[in-house]
Amino acid sequence: MKFIDEFRDRDLARGLATAIAQEAARDRSYRLMEFCGGHTHAIFRYGVQDLMPAQVRFVHGPGCPVCVLPTARLDLAIAMTERHGLTLCTYADLMRVPASNRHSLLKAKAAGADIRMVYSTQDALAIARANPGRQVVFFAIGFETTTPPTAVALKQARAEGLGNFSVFCNHVLTPPAMRAILETAGPEGIAIDGILGPSHVSTVIGSAPYDFVPRDFGKPLVIAGFEPLDVMQATLMLIRQINAGRAEVENQYSRAVTPEGNRKAQALMAEVLTLRDTFEWRGLGFLPDSAQRLNEAFADFDAEQRFRVAVPPSCEVKGCECPAVLRGIKEPADCRLFGTVCTPDNPMGSCMVSSEGACAAYWSYGRFRDAA
């Protein structure tokens, strides 16, 4: 298929692997953080790490939307649904994420809560239109890629006067999380030599928002596509920058990313959403100005205001190392539960649920199955 097959070509991959092996200096290490879970997935699925010389290592970042959602927000969504008897629409990835006390959306659904999986915000709107007697809440999560579709749905709901539709907003922003990771690099965190920048987040926000990475932290960042050749070429670009002592934002994924990004999507988000003062991330804690909520003009559609619930402080499964895995400090195999107690069929932490999660990627692509 066009724009897919060409970027998985074996001969070209071999050529890039040779170039990387030649250019990566033997007497130093290149620790490259792929921020985005989509890259983690691609690196495992196509065995990209195996094509790298030993000194080039990928460090997995926190850019998996399901993984970084704090348990407290999931608890809130479940409580809202159960206590207010409403219909909750969610992306499928969230269904099996462990909530407090071994609960999950899937279990709540089995117990009778009206929880429905949707592919698109358009599906959630359709459910609201078809069920005027029910309150329908869309559980909005994700980075800047999934945020514009939420904004479109909200505008549509208002234009149609769809009074039974609302949004439980958990949208988060990439640059503040990247800053948090870089700020904790050092004794507390992980040493990173360069960053593979997100593909589709960057399609929306453009390349300019990453300028702080070289400016404030002296690290190179290369925006990379999701196909294996994209990841490898971006890796070569990072190695070249590191070798030359350069730190710049470069764009490997120029077929889909421009410096200014998708202006129309940005305008839609700005019309509907506003920054939260602070928001909790699993693994990273509370980060200022790192997430969005509905603005005053759309307050009527804010499920958090409409369906107030109080929940006890959340609790996580003991022994789950997701927070350290999300910061790149630990590898999934460092977790005692990995592959024994915790598997994709019976996940103990969010990193084992989504195919973007590092634990699920390690497990699914078999690399550690024998060891486990």
Partner: protein, 89 residues
């Protein structure tokens, strides 16, 4: 019913978008039909501008997120090939 194929699969990472070709437009609803191999799908064009039949768009959770530039794709592939050639030389 939504087509079930590996490429619009729910197993795919949530923030992944896939390149698909626009085969029909419905300006009244701002929707388009896109094709990915043999699979077709209705998606929203609310997030993009000036889309034409034949364009390739990145499809993400039922929306076109942006257009793919064929020229830039060619340029990238040429750079990749050049890096490999240089290494082999």
């Amino acid at each position: 019913m939504r087509p079930r194929t590996a490429l619009f699969d729910r197993d795919l990472p949530m923030c992944l978008a896939v390149p698909a070709r626009v085969i029909a437009l419905d300006p009244a609803t701002d929707m388009a039909t896109v094709a990915l191999g043999a699979v077709t799908k209705e998606i929203s064009l609310a997030l993009v501008e000036n889309t034409e039949v034949g364009d390739y768009v990145l499809v993400h959770v039922g929306y076109a997120l942006g257009r793919i530039s064929p020229e830039e794709a060619e340029r990238t592939l040429a750079l990749i090939a050049a890096a490999g050639d240089l290494a082999a030389a």
